[in-house]
Amino acid sequence: MNDTSRAGGAASLDVSIASKDYHSARGSPRRALEDLRLTLPAGQAGAVVGPSGCGKTTLLRLIAGLDKDYVGTIVLPEHGRLGMVFQEPRLLPWRSVIDNIRIAAPHAREDDIAALLDELGLAEHASHFPRELSLGLARRVALARALAVKPDLLLLDEPLVSLDAALAKDLREMIARLIDERRITTLIVTHDLAEAIALADRIFLLSPRPARVVATLDVPTPRRALEREMAEKLETQARDALAVARAGPQQEKH
């Protein structure tokens, strides 16, 4: 039994999943998530960090309403308007960059879309088709599309994966600036702790399957003022928590 509802008052994200099972081809169920709880206050950015294959993307799919086969409740921010950047940009290949944004955000004003394209450095690519873009540019288009709908909740699935170091740094800084300026409630899924520290106000560390939150770390803000030492300390703290989680079942630390 599941329930996805929208918060009436404060725009926060509240996830409480008792269980999420997958059924293999042979019919035997495999538990992906168990007793997973996380709360993200309005306007904050959260990062879900965990080992590969632990169920991070599964969690994001449940929050996005793409999979309703779970036991638990998910309370979305008020209005529940979602913007999402998938791992693969998932643009319509037969439509230009600007049309991809217009189609996903039919109520957006033309000058808002133009300003967004400009802000993300996409203005000169507006009439290009997705196949003409590099992965980095396509991710930026996907980000512009997600922002164009003026989301109450922004979901980012491994937004920097498969990019080279320089491109990843550029995009990370761009995402950090955009979510800081707009104060959109944002949930980022990543396997990279450094990326989580750079982007999130709160980090949720997941155990291996079945995934649950084993530790929640609050990142001091503003992040730009974060000292290297502090960042390293946070990273060590998170690595320790993940190592403990791998070793065996633990209660959540905060």
Binding site: A64, L66, L92, R131, E132
Partner: protein, 251 residues
């Protein structure tokens, strides 16, 4: 240019064949074109071509619209697929002639029976092609449309139709050539006008000039439809691929 050379070679081969054989069995191009001119002057050629073309269009439109709808449902819904698949296999393996004869026996020698029989022969082909297209729809794009709350109209227009376009184009191309061939058989067996009827008359009279005078203009007409309608349509729906390759060439 190559097409023109190829066509000229075909005409020369025909003329050469006519010289070698009895002109009653294989008249030369000049004799046939003269007959075409005669039939055109009398108006019979144009009226028969128009009647046959109207039947082709009606049967094709019927088969494509029902075939696309049924194929889409079968491609998207497993229960519908399992339920309708035996019917589809039966239709696919039913000889065209059997369908035509049954239609004439059950519904009489009428226009409805003629067009219905042709449409029924093309229907399974359209279903199979569109079903494959519907099965191949990208689930990742569907997830994206779900997250961004595409309306049903936007989903159909921007997601489903562009992905089905190559399959619809393939069904159109193979369908047109199949339909016009079956229309001629239907006219030959049970209609009193149209190109198929005239070909039957020519056969009864052993008039090869008349037979070719009707067959060739109709082939030319269908070639025209293919060249000036189907191919431009196909280019239009896949223009985004061409746009990409052109721009990449320039880089």
């Amino acid at each position: 240019m190559i097409r023109l050379v190829s066509l000229t070679a075909l005409l020369l081969l025909w003329q050469f064949g006519a010289w070698l054989s009895d002109p009653r069995r294989l008249p030369g191009p000049a004799a046939v074109f003269e007959k075409v001119y005669e039939e055109a002057l009398s108006g019979a050629l144009f009226s028969n071509l128009a009647i046959t073309l109207a039947r082709v269009i009606a049967a094709f439109a019927l088969a494509m619209s029902f075939g696309a709808a049924i194929g889409y449902v079968m491609g998207r819904n497993k229960l519908a697929d399992r339920l309708l698949d035996p019917w589809l296999v039966t239709l696919l393996n039913l000889p065209a002639l059997v369908v035509i004869v049954l239609a004439y026996v059950w519904a009489g020698l009428t226009e409805v029976a003629a067009i219905g029989a042709v449409a029924l022969n093309k229907l399974p082909n359209a279903i199979v092609v569109v079903r494959e297209g519907a099965r191949a729809l990208d689930p990742h794009l569907e997830d994206m449309a779900h997250v961004f709350r595409f309306s049903p109209t936007a989903r159909f227009k921007h997601l489903v139709l562009p992905q089905l376009a190559p399959y619809l184009a393939a069904a159109t191309r193979s369908g047109l050539s199949l339909v016009w061939k079956i229309v001629l058989v239907v006219e030959l067996l049970g209609r009193s006008n149209g190109v198929g009827f005239e070909i039957n008359m020519a056969f009864q009279l052993f008039d090869m000039k008349l037979l070719l005078a009707y067959a060739l203009p109709f082939v030319a007409l269908m070639l025209g439809v293919e060249t000036f309608l189907v191919q431009p349509l196909e280019r239009h729906v896949s223009r985004w691929r061409r746009g990409v390759s052109r721009r990449l060439d320039r880089v």
